[in-house]
Symmetry: C2
Subunit: 199 residues, 2 copies
């Protein structure tokens, strides 16, 4: 009977387990921080067996990465406004909002935690960044398809994402809407107005 019920609702139980496990990870990250809980803690809280988690995700690092990508994709989707300039401004404003908000440097802390978690951690980190990079590349590809001239994805990361992260982390300069706009101006409309006026 249980088997035929499963057959009638494919993915039903599986989706519930996934939701319960994701929620358990989010709660544990909020309460204890990355690196301070194990697969067993997640399993207990989600009401599933450790083996279910290992079978589905392989390792704690892969599980945390799945949760983080799902969360980031939902809360901070890569923009698709139909216009490169607007997409870049929305992307930059989103990064600025994420790292200035209450969860602040959650992604950065995750990346650092994964980087310090040995080979499986680095693998998970690379998967996380590859997935987010794929989303960003999609935004740039759509601009190219519209006949616009997008920057390289690496340049977006170097000159929009990196300065915002490091400003918040080091506290060496404010992250204001003006600053965010100036980063986009610099990337898209080079030479920047300021520099052109100075020379």
């Amino acid at each position: 009977v249980a088997d035929s019920e499963k057959a009638r609702r494919p993915g039903g139980r599986s989706a519930r387990v996934r939701a319960a496990v994701h929620k358990a990870v989010m709660d544990l990250v909020a309460e204890r921080g990355y690196g301070n809980f194990a697969v067993g803690d997640v399993a207990t809280r989600a009401g599933v067996a450790d083996s279910s988690i290992y079978r589905r995700w392989g390792s704690l690092e892969e599980l945390i990465t799945d949760v983080a990508i799902t969360w980031l994709t939902r809360t901070s989707p890569i923009p698709d406004t139909g216009d490169l300039d607007s997409d870049l401004r929305a992307y930059a404003a989103g990064v600025a909002r994420d790292i200035s908000g209450p969860d602040g440097l959650a992604v950065l802390r995750l990346v650092i935690a994964l980087s310090n978690a040995g080979a499986s951690g680095e693998q998970a980190r690379d998967r996380f960044l590859a997935e987010r990079g794929r989303q960003l590349q999609g935004m740039l590809d759509r601009a190219e398809d519209r006949g616009e001239h997008p920057p390289e994805a690496l340049d977006v990361l170097d000159h929009i994402l990196a300065p915002l992260y490091v400003r918040v982390l080091f506290g060496y300069g404010p992250v204001t809407p003006d600053h965010v706009d100036s980063l986009v101006d610099r990337l898209v409309h080079r030479p920047g107005r300021k520099s052109a006026a100075r020379r």
Copy 2:
């Protein structure tokens, strides 16, 4: 007799204590990492009283900051080649070398540890960054005095330091001599050659 000896060599004992305490901190950071030792551990290893450390440095965070600035100023002095372009290239190459070397992200880890250490930690972090920023500003001021047109210090941090740190931290792109040069080109000779060719 001891007092008259001190009077004859002012700073002698003080300098020895400072060196012993600095060495103890460096050793403890290497062995245990930031955040995993207390003033008492430093004092024991350096052979001085806890009270001597508190009297001189005020807090563990201020002591660690003093050690880090001294170490960074000695191992990675801000360049002074007599030419802005060379100074910026040497600065960028130095950051790239520091974060790719065995001590890797030591400064970043320190900043993160201080940022998580409450008000005294943040104060120490700000002092650390202000001192390093002062050294960098000096480099740009020397260029201005020679009649060159230096970028703002914040732009150097946003577009040279930040991308290098975040590339190493996130592992999203290589830190090669070509990349380092392209960051300086972009900052100094805008628009960059690549972008000019593309438009």
